[in-house]
């Protein structure tokens, strides 16, 4: 059974209040059934092998029909659509997504020995008991997202304090590139200004990072000396840009591309300086190069690999990308390794390992990030490259959860945003004791946030033994599409110039079903009904 059900108030075996309803197999997957539990009509749903129970009475129509609704997924939340007026009810909380006033009660449901059990007492919406103290370390976008989700599940239960290293509220780091390029205003980038916290009675300690965790006493201490006790601790320290171990990285005009401060520095530099050198030809480096070019600087990208974005792209796609950037006036030195950043106080250029020197008055290092784990490691939490978490986002300390770029889950660390939002939601559900499934990283997809370039990458794109690839090339249209298959299953996709079908490929990667029968049509986009057969 799902390990999610470990609520302290839950009995260890079916006992009082729990009613056996039927066998799991009695309910078809992705459908519901109505049950009579302790004098209430309860709608029981089976979604794959998990079960959910919410009230069967549709508040909008007054009819007992919820069990007959269609089960689906709306923005990552498992919901049922009322068969009457089609409102969506969360299967986890019973909340009506369209109108919270119409929410239905939620019940605990579980499967044991192939039988479905329901606890007859609806999960209370509010608890009067003492609030649980939740401390969040980090105020990045994943931390804020986790809080948002948690408040949706349990608006009142926690007493929350957030410590952040940056001076403002939370902002969407993904939008830094459009901000730099001038495609988005600052107002759209900041998602959680300070009043967002105050209105929710969350204590925000901005610009005051935690320096110490005392797990024994369950307390944390901030740089300013503030000590706060916790019942639950959420580590969301994110990652930090890697700084190359070469001379000159501390010179003026050498920056990373990580936070708002970096963007501000770049925007300032673009007004006063002429030439920028970006070290790193990955996603972030290219976005930085594009942004700086758009702000009028001449830009050279130094990249150590033979082709750009080698983690997401294969060589031909990277070649098209390079051509496109070159047409926009960005120069490349690659493969080339930066050996030294030149300058006395302020940067004047970069010397490459082959001896060449590039002149420049701004150097942006975008050579990757590493999880920020010093704090967790110092607290004695198990760490490898990141803070180790299980499928519930719990660390080896049962009071401490971790989410975001600082974690390592089943051997993987995370840099792209989609799986992190998933982590946030699942972690919030566990914190709210509403969780029903563990975290399973979905295939990652990435797209380059550079105007006029359609680039999409999903899954594993590096050719490996046993991988087969399907390639479509249309140089004149600047189109390159590649799918990687392994044993007739889609493993990865690189789409350049024409990203249609991207979502479909992500689905196929997720499903992991054989695509042998549509192999020859895969790359041309999602199938439509054909008019007549082939010859």
């Amino acid at each position: 059974m799902n390990p999610a059900f470990r609520s302290p108030s839950e009995p260890s075996s079916p006992a009082r209040h729990w009613t056996r309803v039927c066998g799991l197999e009695d309910i078809l997957p992705e459908s519901g059934a109505a049950a009579w539990v302790d004098g209430h009509e309860v709608a029981v749903f089976r979604v794959r092998d998990a079960v959910y129970a919410i009230g069967n009475l549709d508040p909008a129509s007054g009819a007992n029909v919820i069990a007959r609704g269609i089960v689906g997924d709306l923005g990552g939340e498992i919901v049922v659509a009322s068969p009457m007026y089609k409102q969506h009810f969360s299967l986890i909380t019973g909340r009506c997504l369209e109108d919270p006033a119409l929410s239905v009660p939620a019940y605990l449901a579980r499967v044991m020995d192939g039988e479905i059990w329901i606890r007859g007492k609806a999960v209370p919406r509010r608890r009067s008991a003492h609030k649980r103290r939740l401390v969040v370390i980090g105020n990045g976008m994943i931390a804020a997202r986790t809080l948002e989700d948690l408040l949706e599940f349990e608006p009142q239960r926690h007493d929350i304090t957030v410590f952040g290293g940056e001076p403002q509220g939370s902002y969407n780091r993904v939008l830094l590139s459009p901000l730099l390029a001038g495609d988005r205003p600052l107002a759209e980038v900041v998602t959680h200004p300070p009043d967002w916290y105050s209105r929710r009675r969350i204590t925000l300690q901005a610009d005051d990072p935690i320096e110490h965790i005392d797990r024994t006493r369950r307390r944390v201490r901030s740089r300013s000396g503030l000590e706060v006790a916790y019942d639950r601790l959420l580590i969301a320290t994110g990652s930090q840009p890697i700084v190359l171990g070469i001379p000159g990285t501390s010179l003026d005009g050498v920056i990373s591309f990580r936070d708002l401060r970096d963007v501000e520095s770049m925007m300032t530099a673009a007004r006063t300086q002429r030439r920028a050198i970006v070290i790193g030809g990955g996603l972030l480096g290219l976005e930085a190069a594009h942004g700086l070019r758009r702000r009028g600087m001449s830009v050279t990208v130094v990249h150590i690999e033979k082709h750009l974005m080698e983690r997401q792209l294969d060589e031909p796609a990277a070649g098209l990308l390079r051509t496109e950037f070159e047409q926009r006036g960005i120069e490349f030195a690659m493969p080339a390794e930066a050996a030294q950043i030149l300058g006395k106080t302020r940067v004047t250029g970069v010397r490459l390992a082959d001896g060449r020197e590039l002149a420049g008055d701004l150097v942006v290092m975008a050579v990757g990030v590493r999880p920020n784990i010093e704090l967790a490691r110092a607290a004695g939490l198990h760490c490898d490259r990141g803070v180790l978490v299980d499928d519930t986002l719990l660390t080896n300390d049962p009071s401490i959860y971790a989410v975001g770029e600082c974690v390592q889950h089943r051997g993987r660390t995370f840099g792209l945003v989609a799986p992190l939002f998933d982590q946030a939601r699942i972690c919030a559900a566990y914190l709210a004791e509403r969780a029903v499934r563990g975290f399973r990283p979905q295939p990652v997809s990435a797209s380059l946030k550079v105007g006029g370039i359609d680039l999409f990458s999903a899954g594993d794109c590096a050719p490996a033994p046993g991988t087969e690839s399907l390639v479509l090339r249309d140089a004149a249209r600047g189109v390159y599409r590649r799918l990687l298959l392994h044993r007739d299953r889609v493993r990865g996709a690189v789409l350049y110039g024409d990203t249609s079908g991207g979502r479909w490929y992500v689905e196929l990667i997720e499903k992991g079903e054989s695509v042998a029968s549509l192999r020859n049509e895969l790359l041309f986009g999602a199938p439509e009904k054909r008019a007549a057969g082939g010859s």
Binding site: S469, L470, L472, D474, F524, G525, A532, G534
Partner: protein
């Protein structure tokens, strides 16, 4: 602008349809001539597409000597000098003409006159030898002269029509349609098809007898015996007008007197055979129409005589709605026979062996040197060329390297020959490739003269186009060579009218009703009357000046005693028997939309899409047994040669047999010249080769990939294991396959499609599965595309083909092109060539409720022009409705 229509005739099969042709907006438009008695306005798919075949592309426009273009004088001098020298050094029999049923009667006449009356040899033979020489020999044996007694009108009047060895629906579609119309008018009309194959002709037959190949004589001997034993013999007719009846019956009784045994011998159900015999016995008006299935056999003459025998026994000849009816394959096979253009004839139905005839012709021609004995027949002729006995050979309007049996030997013979001249309309044929001198002949539409069709109608072919380049009429070329050879008199004609007049006068010369071929009534027409000449059925004797619909009306035949002969025919098997190494019997023939070696029909897009590549057809169970798969490539091997083609399992072929079409040459496919496989055995009397019974085996042709390409320009075909090319208008369609898997598909494909590095190139590659697709564009316009896969199941060709009409492709179309995913419904494989209707369109119409031919015709027009696709549409209607797989 509209021009007046010119009345002319179709240059294809022996039906001899009248055509109204005109040039409109630079294009040639044709329609059936409603006043012509042969077709009364109808045309088949080939005839309807004539306009697509008259373009100048590929035409031979100027004389060439050893590949160099020269003037006419130079070319004619070379031909005349080489022939003169060979004759002077080695005698008249060291030279030969190999001519064609495509020639007009006037061309034929002067060729025959030059060879037999001036050079003094009878070494002039024709590709008609491959077509109906057996019918000629049988007619001579039975009637004393080469005479087809019947008329097309007899098909309208008959109560029973027996089609023997004829896929009339495909090879003579207008006749087939005429039969169907008669059957619609009079449902009591019965149609029996005797053919080893269940051809589309069988679809509307009341009875199909799928006899074992080569057992026709047994079947008709059985019929003869049955008729005699069931009181159907016309004793009075036999006694007054025939000889040899008793002897012939004795042979028939002895060989096939017992129906059960005859049925077993023919591989037929005895009940079905009896039913046919009974129908024949009780039907007075019966026409037995026979064609190449009878003629092209080592026993072809006997087969034809066994058919004629039953008509003589019952007296069903020379009267309305009855008689044996030989359908010729070529437009002017009959005309060739009339002028004597066969090595064993003289002229105007006179015989070489007959001293009186020789004298008569010599005096008429004022001949300096007459041939004294028969010349070499086609197969012997090329054997003599191979042995070096023929020093100079002139081939006119035919492609023997493709069409002769044992054709590889024929090709070798031409290679060895000291001097080969070829007159043709097309520059590149497998035969022209071996010529020393190429002479550009005027093509259909550019030349003037007469032709004779299967039912003795002499019709005018008229010119409505200017000659292409320096092309000249064949008669002109022959006469100029004759003059240069020193024959100053006898060839100074001013035009075809004068030649025709001489031919007509010769037919009447010393005739006195001793020869049926007498067209003296057409003498002294003069230019204007010749120009206006209406179709007329010979004989046209001077007295009366009227045509003759039916011969032998008074029971008068043309043996000296005026009686017909029944000919005892003893069944005999093909000369080469099947054995363990060659266990299958290879049959050959035509397909619906192609003519001979495709030098003309192959240029029509609509005609080329019915069967765009060579195939071999066989029974499903045999395919399993021999380990070959339908749709895949196979190799057919005989003792004489081999070919590679696509395996088709149509359900038309009986077990133990193979069928391959005759049309593909080295110009259109890598290795599909069926002629190369055919045994050189010939009928001992007619010299006609056995095209339909060569022992063969079949084996898989192992290739590692299959593909097709559509391209505006020619492909670089070197290194392919298989290719076949079909014209499709704006582009050519290539079916290809290979053993060697290219290491780098894109590079290989670029060189195949001749696309440079700068080409706008789209491609799709699934290297692991062996799938590669590519397209080259120029300025947004599709230039070529290529689809390769590991097996023969490739995407539909019709969708990418449809994109060749666009001046530029949209982004969606560029993507859809390689997806081969049509935006509009795919019409599917072509069924109706006249209106370009595909199979899927017909299926959808059926699914939408069109349940019969009429409603499909109303909806899609399919089958409403020539009607030759009607059997196929009928089959589609009869099929169970396909469900999604």
């Amino acid at each position: 602008m509209t021009a007046a229509e010119t009345r002319t005739t179709c240059p294809y099969c022996g039906v001899g349809c009248g055509i109204l042709a005109k040039v409109e907006d630079g294009a040639v438009r044709v329609r059936g001539d409603p006043l012509h008695p042969a077709n009364r306005g109808a045309l088949c798919s080939k005839g309807s597409a004539l306009g697509e075949t008259v373009g100048l592309e590929g035409r031979l426009l100027r004389p060439r000597v050893l590949g160099e273009e020269v003037g006419w004088d130079a070319a004619l001098d070379v031909v005349a000098r080489r022939f003169r020298r060979a004759i002077d050094e080695h005698g008249p029999d060291s030279v030969a003409f190999y001519v064609s049923g495509q020639l007009l009667t006037e061309d034929y006449y002067v060729a025959n006159k030059l060879m037999k009356g001036f050079i003094g040899s009878a070494n002039i033979d024709t590709n008609s030898r491959l077509c109906m020489a057996s019918a000629v020999a049988a007619h001579k044996r039975a009637f004393g002269e080469d005479l087809v007694p019947t008329s097309y009108e007899d098909l309208d009047l008959a109560d029973l029509i027996v089609l023997v060895g004829s896929n009339t629906a495909w090879c003579h579609p207008v006749i087939y349609r005429r039969i169907l119309e008669a059957k619609e008018r009079r449902p009591s009309l019965r149609l029996v098809v005797i053919d080893p194959r269940r051809t589309p002709t069988c679809d509307l037959a009341d009875l199909h007898l799928p006899l074992r190949a080569g057992t026709d004589v047994l079947l008709f001997n059985g019929l003869l015996s049955w008729l005699a034993n069931h009181g159907a013999a016309d004793r009075e007719f036999l006694d007054r007008h025939t000889r040899n009846g008793a002897r012939t019956l004795l042979v028939a009784d002895n060989t096939a007197g017992e129906v059960g045994a005859a049925a077993r011998g023919c591989g037929l159900d005895a009940g079905a055979l009896r039913l046919f015999y009974r129908w024949f016995t009780h039907t007075e008006r019966v026409v037995t129409l026979f064609s190449q299935g009878v003629n092209q056999s080592g026993a072809g003459t006997d087969k034809a005589n066994s058919i004629i025998n039953v008509h003589l026994l019952t007296g069903r000849i020379g009267r309305a709605g009855m008689g044996p009816f030989s359908m010729t394959g070529q437009p002017n096979a009959m005309g060739g026979r009339e002028v004597g253009g066969l090595a064993n004839s003289l002229a105007a139905h006179m015989e070489l062996e007959n001293a009186e005839h020789r004298r008569l012709v010599r005096e008429f021609w004022k001949s300096p040197r007459m041939a004294e004995r028969p010349g070499l027949k086609a197969v012997e002729l090329f054997e003599a060329v191979h042995r070096g006995r023929i020093k100079a050979l002139w081939i006119m309007a035919t492609n023997p390297v493709v069409s002769l049996p044992n054709a590889d030997r024929a090709r070798e013979a031409l290679r060895r020959c000291e001097f080969v001249a070829v007159s043709d309309v097309v520059a590149q044929t497998d035969t022209a490739a071996l010529a020393h001198v190429l002479l550009p002949a005027a093509a259909w539409g550019e030349k003037d003269g007469t032709v004779t069709n299967s039912d003795r109608h002499i019709s005018r072919q008229r010119c409505f186009l200017p000659a292409a380049g320096e092309a000249k009429p064949d008669w002109w070329i022959i006469c100029r060579v004759a003059e240069r050879m020193g024959f100053s008199h006898g060839f100074g004609y001013r035009g075809p009218a004068e030649i025709f007049d001489e031919h007509v006068r010769l037919s009447a010369e010393g005739n006195g009703s001793s020869r049926a071929f007498d067209v003296g009534g057409l003498a002294a027409l003069g230019e204007p009357a010749y120009a206006r000449l209406e179709p007329v059925q010979w004989p046209v004797p001077a007295a009366g000046r009227r045509g003759t619909q039916r011969l032998f009306a008074g029971g008068r035949f043309y043996h000296p005693d005026g009686r017909a002969r029944l000919v005892p025919t003893i069944p005999r098997a093909p000369r080469f028997a099947l054995d363990d190494e060659y266990p299958l019997i290879l049959n050959t023939g035509r397909i619906r939309d192609q003519w001979h070696t495709m030098t003309r029909t192959g240029r029509s897009p609509s005609l080329s899409s019915h069967f765009p590549e060579p195939f071999v057809d066989m029974h499903r169970a045999d395919a399993r047994h021999f380990g070959v798969v339908g749709g895949a490539l196979v190799r057919v091997v005989t003792r004489w040669g081999r070919m590679t083609a696509r395996l088709r399992i149509s359900g038309e072929i009986a077990r133990g047999a193979l069928f391959a079409p005759i049309h593909w040459s080295d110009s259109t496919s890598s290795s599909a010249r069926v002629g190369a496989l055919v045994s050189p055995s010939v009928d001992p009397l007619s010299g006609e080769p056995e095209f339909k019974a060569t022992p063969a085996r079949i084996e898989p042709c192992v290739v590692n990939w299959y593909g097709f390409a559509l391209a505006r320009g020619p492909l670089a075909l070197e290194g392919l294991s298989y290719w076949a090319c079909a014209e499709s208008g704006a582009f050519r369609r290539y079916e290809i396959a290979g053993r060697r898997v290219p290491g780098h598909w894109p590079g290989w494909a670029r060189s195949l499609l001749r696309a440079g590095r700068q080409a706008d190139w789209i491609d799709y590659e699934d290297a692991h599965a062996g799938t590669y697709r590519a397209a080259a564009l120029r300025d947004g316009r599709l230039e070529s595309c290529l689809f390769v896969g590991p097996g023969p199941d490739l995407p539909s060709r019709s969708w990418p083909a449809s994109l060749f009409d666009r001046t530029s492709l949209t982004a969606d179309e560029r993507l859809g092109l390689l997806a081969s995913r049509p935006s509009a419904p795919d019409a599917g494989p072509l069924v109706c060539a006249c209106f370009g209707v595909g199979r899927y369109s017909i299926e959808s119409a059926i699914a939408e409720g069109a349940g019969d031919l009429q409603s499909i015709g109303r909806r899609l027009k399919a089958g409403t022009n020539c009607g030759s696709c009607l059997p196929e549409i009928r089959r589609i209607i009869a099929e169970p409705i396909a469900t999604e797989p």
